[in-house]
Every structure is written in structure tokens, then in C-alpha cells.
């Protein structure tokens, strides 16, 4: 396997379902501003009102069945506090119920003795293309980049995800319980991404993380200008990139204004012609309304600073810069802006904009108080993200930054959950959160560590020692047996 995909960078969008926002069936704005004299507004025909149904492809994910469970005698990294030696994790109804030392095991709970083993939250990969660049890597399944226009904000990665991609189960064996699938980075605006629970399902809806916000994937730098410049189109330069972003946001602001005008008039009982719905502008408008988050592929510090200025110009917030090889150069700015960096430890130097990538990036960001996370962007690396964190911790310590395990575990659990806006639901072992848990054979930062048991919403989804719990996608049925090493 010589050739790795050099430059598949992602994009994605998740719809933020803000509490109290629209519910399926009616324009919330009208409900929110009742005007006594006005006639009840007639709903637009199905599909024409962008705000009527923000969730047209709803999650059908249901957790696997689970029993109340107690993991005892475990060395625990909660991602929410200090290391616990010889502790207990209690789970029930798919949620963490308690974590601590000497907890009583509830009657009837299944007891897992994790003596000598380590327990962490399930790993979260905030930058993946599993399903959209599936294995086998054949042309028919290369669905990650709608590289037909610099602005394809109208596409949604979930519509490209192949749920039978055998890469999902391999990531599960690496302890990954949640992952964000993004469109590629060929375009300035790549489209929406989708957050998935790493479970087998026949449909992508069956994998969708319930209630996860949508994100919009944007891309800085070399990719868009190369892809379109080589076709004699704009952008062909970095300044062309920036002009393209701003043009997109101008259109989005205008679109939002037209819909607001329409809703105002209808609310006052005036006659009004609705704007024509535009999927591309729906997504951009969702960002401006604060419902959709920005995940921005951007390697260089100077470009990140320009993207931040654009966010100020148009009034939106960037959730995270991805790849972010040079984030360490502007760590204070990123901390001030509350922007996460989604990066790697070891990857660097594969193109000009990545030559300044250093192993200490996440540790230096963390040290500066900025949100730091690792990701894979790769179907092999996703299988050992724990080691990538171990390497980053070691590099940080060599640099004198004194990184300990309770901090380093956040780079692959709680912090990516923050980047994706799902940290209230998962990412750490705290009561009330989803029971997404990994039991490791040993210190998870070791090169020799393997995920022994992986729980998703409290259900055992993978067990190293039980071949029946090595889930297989449809594609893998009937493949040459891998057997067991004797």
C-alpha cells in the first residue's frame, strides 16, 4: 500500500438543533411572535421553507441492549479529573451513573473485573472520512469530495456514507466510539459533515449521533486553489480563496435577510412572496444563525488569523481549525477566540502548508489554554489514536511542558467532543453522560495497548477476546478467513 491519500481534507457540517428552535411541522418564528390581528400564516408547501424542518434525515439510532454494569478494579482516566487507581465505573440505562473509588456495586449489575487494565472514555475522532472514502478504495466508492464547484455548501456528507465500510469496525477495535465524517477539502465550502456513533447499521440514519449539531466544512489553503486554479477557475490563489469565502457569506447574509423580511411580513398579516429555498444558502445561513458550526481545514497560522477576521466581519464563530499544523504559532489567539485545533502528532511535511508541523503542537496549545485535539483523517491512524496521544504527551514532556495522562486523554475524548459540540453528552466519564467507555489491556498511551472492551451507550460493542463481538460489515461476509493466531 504505497500511495496514501495525500490530501484528503475534510469538511463537514452539523446542524445545531438548538433547544426550543423549530420543530417539524411549523415555522417557529411565527409561533414565537404571535400577532393577535394577523391571520394564521399558511405554511409553505412541504420542503420550501428552510426553517420548517431542520432535521429532514433524522437519526434512527437506538443503543444496543445493555444491562447495568460495574467495571471494578480499574485504573481510570475520566477526562474530567485526576487519575483514579483501583476505581469503579457504574453504568445503567446506557449512561454513566457513578465513577470513583470503593463504590458499592448495585445489585444485579454485571461485574467486569478490570484488574490490571485501564478505563477511558470512548475515543472521539473529530476528523474522519470513513464511509465517504470507503474500503475497498475503488472509484465507485470515492464519495468524499464534490469537487465540482468551490462552494458546495449544499452537499451533506451523510449522503455519501456507506454504512458497510469495513473501516468502521477496525476503528471500533481501536476504541473509537464517535466520529465526525466530513466532506473533503477540495472546496472553499465543502458541505455538511455528520457525527456518527460507531455502530453497525444498515442505514446512515441508524448511525447518526442523536442531537449532534451539524457542521460546515470549509477549507483554506492549497487544495481549493489547486483544484480550481488547475481548471482555469477561481480560486487560483490564496487571495482568490478569501474573496470566495466573503462572496459566500454575503450571499448567505442576503438570503437570511430576505427570509427574515418574508417572515416579518407574514407575521404582520401582509402579503409576501417567499424567497426560493436554496440548499447551499440554507447551510451558510444556519452558520450565521449559530445553529451550524464551522470545521475549517486550515494549516497555516496566517491563514487561520484571516479566517478569524472573516468570522468577525460576518458574525459567526469557527468551532475548530483542522490539521492546524501551525496552531502553536498563534496559540494565544486561538485560546482568546475559543477555537479548537484538530491536528496530528506525527504528520508533517507532505505539502508546503504542512512543513512546519511539529509533534509538540497539541501540548503547546494545551499549555496556552487553547482547546487541543487529535484526529486521524486516515483509516489506519484511526485505529491507534491512543498512541498518537501518547506520542504527543511524550513530545510535550520532552519540551518541558509537564503533560500528564489525565490531560492527554482529553485530546482524544473530551476536547474533540467540545470541538463537535457534543461534550454535554459524551467525551468524559461523568454521571449522566453516555456510557461510551473503553477498557484497555494496559496504559492506553502504550504502543502495546489494545482495546479489550468497547462500550457504546452502555452496550458491549466490541470484545477483543470474543470473536462473536468482532462485528463484521456486510462487505466482509465470506472474505478469506483471518482465523486466530495460535
Amino acid at each position: 500500500m504505497l500511495a496514501r491519500r495525500l490530501i484528503c481534507l475534510c469538511a463537514g457540517v452539523a446542524l445545531l438543533l438548538l433547544a426550543g428552535c423549530e420543530t417539524a411541522g411549523g415555522p417557529a418564528k411565527v409561533e414565537a411572535t404571535p400577532i393577535a390581528a394577523a391571520k394564521p400564516a399558511k405554511a409553505l408547501p412541504p420542503g420550501l421553507d428552510p426553517f420548517a424542518n431542520p432535521d429532514p434525515f433524522p437519526s434512527t439510532y437506538r443503543p444496543l441492549p445493555s444491562k447495568p454494569m460495574a467495571i471494578i478494579n480499574a485504573h481510570i482516566l475520566t477526562a474530567a479529573g485526576p487519575e483514579i487507581t483501583d476505581g469503579v465505573v457504574l453504568m445503567a440505562n446506557g449512561k454513566i451513573t457513578a465513577v470513583g473509588v470503593g463504590l458499592a456495586v448495585p445489585e444485579g449489575a454485571v461485574v467486569i473485573d478490570a484488574k490490571g487494565e485501564w478505563v477511558t472514555p470512548g475515543l472521539i475522532d473529530p476528523h474522519s472520512h470513513l464511509g465517504v472514502y470507503a474500503s475497498p478504495e475503488v472509484e465507485a466508492q470515492s464519495d468524499g469530495n464534490e469537487a465540482t464547484d468551490p462552494n458546495t455548501a449544499q452537499v451533506w456528507a451523510e449522503h455519501s456514507v456507506w454504512p458497510q465500510d469495513p473501516q468502521f469496525t477496525r476503528a471500533l477495535a481501536g476504541g473509537v466510539t464517535t466520529l465526525e465524517i466530513l466532506p473533503g477539502s477540495a472546496n472553499l465550502f465543502g458541505g455538511r459533515s455528520v457525527v456518527l456513533k460507531n455502530v453497525l447499521a444498515t442505514t446512515v440514519q441508524g448511525m447518526k449521533f442523536p442531537g449532534a449539531p451539524y457542521d460546515l466544512k470549509m477549507a483554506c489553503g492549497e487544495n481549493p486553489k489547486r483544484v480550481y486554479g488547475s481548471r482555469g477557475r477561481s480560486p487560483s490563489t490564496l487571495m482568490g480563496n478569501v474573496a470566495g469565502y466573503r462572496a459566500g457569506w454575503i450571499n448567505a447574509r442576503d438570503y437570511l435577510r430576505r427570509w427574515d423580511d418574508y417572515h416579518d411580513k407574514i407575521a404582520k398579516g401582509e402579503k409576501a412572496e417567499p424567497p426560493k429555498r436554496d440548499l447551499q444558502l440554507d447551510t451558510l445561513a444556519g452558520v450565521l444563525k449559530g445553529e451550524i458550526r464551522i470545521q475549517n481545514h486550515c494549516y497555516r497560522a496566517d491563514e487561520m488569523a484571516q479566517m478569524i477576521d472573516i468570522s468577525h466581519e460576518f458574525g459567526f464563530h469557527i468551532a475548530a481549525f483542522h490539521h492546524a499544523s501551525e496552531s502553536y504559532k498563534i496559540a494565544a489567539l486561538l485560546a482568546k477566540e475559543g477555537i479548537c485545533s484538530v491536528t496530528w502528532t506525527q504528520w508533517f511535511g507532505f505539502k508546503m502548508e504542512s512543513i512546519d508541523g511539529i509533534e509538540e503542537n497539541v501540548a503547546m496549545l494545551d499549555h496556552a489554554g487553547a482547546c487541543a485535539t487529535l484526529s486521524s483523517d486516515d483509516a489506519d491512524l484511526i485505529q491507534h489514536l491512543n498512541q498518537e496521544a501518547g506520542l504527543a504527551m511524550a513530545a510535550g514532556n520532552r519540551a518541558g511542558l509537564k503533560v500528564d495522562r489525565p490531560e492527554a486523554i482529553k485530546w482524544i475524548t473530551l476536547n474533540p467532543a467540545k470541538a463537535l459540540g457534543i461534550d454535554a453528552k459524551t467525551g468524559s466519564l461523568e454521571p449522566g453522560k453516555m456510557a461510551d467507555v473503553v477498557v484497555w489491556t494496559r496504559d492506553p498511551f502504550s504502543v502495546y495497548a489494545l482495546a479489550d472492551k468497547v462500550y457504546i451507550d452502555g452496550a458491549l460493542a466490541y470484545d477483543l477476546k470474543d470473536p462473536k463481538l468482532h462485528p463484521k460489515t456486510d462487505f466482509e461476509l465470506g472474505l478469506p478467513s483471518q482465523g486466530a493466531l495460535q
Partner: protein, 439 residues
């Protein structure tokens, strides 16, 4: 797997002496002694829990427990730390590609229609590559630079199956090539079939015809000069380059993946009397006894566990362990470009987690690649007469938390600095704004 992890303190004077090649004032080469080391020799002794190593003239002079240390020797007390031979990065593009995405810095392949087998990376190895110091400080002292077959040539011809010839080079000095023409690289399977115009039926037939041509050419050089030979399917340069291959002097490294293709390649090698290396070989574990019986080594990618194509449907993380258990010599492939990983040693650690014995993992990073690429006469183990390419580690060499404290090449301590550390330190020291606008 717990190992004694004793930190090593290098005396400054010793480091300086090493950097200067340890030449005494009288011009005599001094001895350097590494004492009190946990030595993995990679030869019969294999592991010396407490051993000493004597180094003279850049070579290993002696290794063993309780050696007599010359009085004027520069002594490095390893304090029980592990010492291994320098790691050999098997099958990389280190030194021949600087920045993959910058075409002008990429010397790993040719799109020319004039050369195939004759393409030779020995001329491209750049000892000033900024990537080399980054990889060297992970404990790599030598690398195998390997050409790649372009899937799209500007003017495709069906005889263009060969990617060209590998070179082994050392990660120090301005003239680093240790062995040129270390292997001829051939892509079979889907990639090779594509190069052959489509179809495995074409690639095997074309290949045999080419080998016939090379043998005919070798016997009829005079006639060739007089234009009295049949028209060959290869250029003059490619014919010349393949003579050592058909004569079994230069190994033919065959990139091949599915089990059926591996069997075909083994058969071809036997019939044509070729010395081969299998590369990739994701399904090799299914043929481990056959490969062992043929005495053919395998260079494999530890991470390859996905059905990433229809010829790797049986890919398994246990490929290394199963081949080793069957007695097949294996080398673990490094990240091709070192851009998605900076060292081969973590692949070895993961292979251990998936069943490869610890010692076998070290072998796969050192003496096996040295043997596979024909440099084991002076590299790959800690034995008298071999180059003093050594690493002292501050822990288990395969662990994520470990780093070398000393990397020695031909007896000289190498700098453990690199450009990425300069960047790190610049921004660490400067704090929030390293460029305060030149007030």
C-alpha cells in the same frame, strides 16, 4: 514488557569527543567504550543484559560482558539503558522526496518513457534533506530509498513495469549511499496489470518475455552492437539494468498483494531463477509455509489490515506474527514518506501487540532489512567489524514514550536537533508573539 528504563547521562566531553571522531592528539584513533549497557546485538548472543561495546575507527571492535576497557578510551556509561543497532528504515522515500506535494522535490519516480528498470534512485539521495535529521533522531541510522511506479506515465508503454532500483543510504555525511542497486522494484497485481496495459494475463506474459530478452541480450552483446539481434521489448538501458536481476545477483522486490498473485510470483521466481523479495504481501500469511520453504523474505506494512482493494481482502494485523512464526524473514516497512509517521519503531511495537515476539520485532527493524538489501556485512547488528551505527535509548525502543539519548553513525555521535525542534523552541521561548513588529 517492562524494561529497565534507566536514564542516560552523556558526559559532555564524551559527546564532544564522539562528534570529533575521537581522534587523539597523537593522531591515533581513540577507542570509545559504551559500558553497562543492555545490548541487543541481533546476532547469536542476541541480548546481553549487561554488556560493553568497544568502538574504533567507526567500527565495532568488540562486544560482550565485562570487556577490558583501554585506559585512554572515551567511556559512555549507559547505566543499564538499552542499546540496539541503528534502525534501518525499510523501503522509504526519505532522501529522494523532500515535500511530496512539491513536484520539483520529488525524485521517487520518472514519467519518462525512456526508462523503467534503469531508473536508479542512487543519484537522487539528498544528504541535506531537512527530513533526515527529524527521522534520525527517532533512532534510524540507515534507510532504503525505493522508487515508485507512476500509475500514469506521460507516454505509457507496456514495457514499463519496473519502478527502478533502490539504494541503501546512511543518515549522515555528504556521500551517504551505502549500496546502490540494492534491489530492482517491480509492481505486480492490479498496479502492474495496469502498467502492462490491463490484465494479469498480460503482466506475467510480458515479464517472461522481458527476462528472455535480457538473457538473449546478455549473451549477444556484440550482435546487438551490430544491430543483428531481434527487436527487444526493452531499451538498451533497461536491458543492462536487468542483467544482474536475471542472473540472481540483484534481488527483485515484487510489490504483490493477493495470495493467488503471490503464488504466481513464487512460481515465476523459481522458474526464472530469480532472487526475490515480496513487498506489501497483505495476504502472505495465508501462504506462510510456501513462502518460508522458498526462502523468500517479506517486507510488509504493519498497518495494512483493511480490504483497501480487491487484492487485499485478507489483510490482517497478524500478518507479521504469522509469517515470523512460520520462519519467514520479515522487515517492517517504514512510513513511505515519513509524513504520516516519523519512525518505523511504533509499527514494530504494534506488531508485538498483535503477536510478534519482541526480539523478532527488533530483528525486523535491523538485521533482517540489512540482509534483505545486502548490507548485513557492515550493518544491522552489533558485532566486531560492523559499522558502529548504534542507538542508546531512554526506555524500550518500541514504546511511545521512548527517545534515543545517543544516535551514533560510524562511531560518531549525531546531532539530535532538527528543524521541527527549532520551530518548537522559537515559539516556546517567544510566548504569544515571537515577532513583536521590530519596534
Amino acid at each position: 514488557m517492562t524494561r529497565a528504563l534507566v536514564s542516560l547521562l552523556l558526559a559532555t566531553s564524551a559527546a564532544l569527543a564522539l562528534a570529533q571522531g575521537a581522534i587523539a592528539a597523537d593522531g591515533q584513533t581513540k577507542t570509545t567504550a559504551i559500558v553497562n549497557a543492555h545490548v541487543y546485538t541481533m546476532n547469536e548472543a542476541f541480548e546481553l543484559p549487561s554488556g560493553d561495546i568497544l568502538i574504533q575507527n567507526g567500527k565495532i571492535a568488540a562486544v560482550g560482558p565485562h570487556l577490558a576497557i583501554p585506559k585512554d578510551a572515551t567511556v559512555i556509561d549507559a547505566q543499564g539503558a538499552i542499546v540496539t543497532p541503528g534502525l534501518i528504515a525499510a523501503n522509504t522515500q526519505l532522501g529522494i522526496v523532500e515535500v511530496e506535494g512539491v513536484e520539483n522535490t520529488n525524485d521517487s519516480a520518472t514519467a519518462s518513457d525512456a526508462l523503467s528498470a534503469a531508473f536508479d534512485v542512487q543519484y537522487a539521495v539528498n544528504s541535506d534533506s531537512l527530513v533526515i535529521p527529524i527521522i534520525r533522531r527517532t533512532g534510524v541510522t540507515d534507510a532504503v530509498a525505493t522508487p515508485t511506479l507512476l500509475s500514469e506515465r506521460r507516454h505509457p508503454r507496456k514495457d514499463m513495469l519496473f519502478a527502478g532500483q533502490s539504494a541503501v543510504f546512511t543518515l549522515a555525511g555528504i556521500s551517504p549511499v551505502e549500496r546502490a542497486k540494492a534491489a530492482m522494484v517491480l509492481d505486480m497485481g492490479e498496479q502492474g496489470a495496469g502498467a502492462a496495459g490491463g490484465g494479469r494475463g498480460a503482466e506475467f506474459v510480458l515479464l517472461r518475455a522481458m527476462f528472455d530478452d535480457v538473457r538473449h541480450f546478455a549473451k549477444n552483446r556484440a550482435a546487438y552492437e551490430r544491430n543483428q539481434t531481434p527487436v527487444y521489448s526493452l531499451s538498451h538501458e533497461d536491458l543492462e539494468a536487468l542483467i544482474s536481476v536475471v542472473e540472481g545477483r540483484e534481488p527483485l522486490m515484487v510489490s504483490v498483494h493477493r495470495a493467488a498473485d503471490i503464488l504466481q510470483v513464487l512460481k515465476l521466481a523459481k522458474e526464472e531463477h530469480l532472487k526475490i523479495i515480496l513487498e506489501g504481501a497483505e495476504e502472505a500469511w495465508r501462504l506462510a509455509p510456501e513462502i518460508a520453504a522458498a526462502g523468500v523474505p517479506v517486507v510488509l506494512d504493519e498497518e495494512a489490515d483493511r480490504p483497501s482493494s480487491f487484492e487485499t481482502l485478507g489483510a490482517s494485523l497478524e500478518n507479521a506474527a504469522r509469517l515470523n512464526a512460520a520462519g519467514v524473514k520479515i522487515a517492517l516497512e517504514s512510513p513511505r514518506l515519513f509524513t504520516g509517521g516519523r519512525t518505523p519503531r511504533f509499527a514494530a511495537g504494534r506488531a508485538v501487540a498483535h503477536g510478534l515476539p519482541y526480539g523478532a520485532a527488533l530483528v525486523a527493524l535491523t538485521i533482517s532489512p540489512a540482509e534483505i538489501w545486502g548490507v548485513s556485512d557492515h550493518l544491522g547488528s552489533i558485532a566486531p567489524g560492523k559499522d558502529a551505527n548504534l542507538v542508546i535509548w531512554n526506555g524500550d525502543p518500541l514504546e511511545t514514550s521512548t527517545a534515543p539519548t545517543l544516535v551514533m553513525i560510524k562511531g560518531k555521535a549525531q546531532s539530535l536537533r532538527s528543524r521541527d525542534l527549532d520551530l518548537r523552541d522559537k515559539y516556546l521561548q517567544a510566548g504569544a508573539d515571537p515577532h513583536p513588529a521590530y519596534p
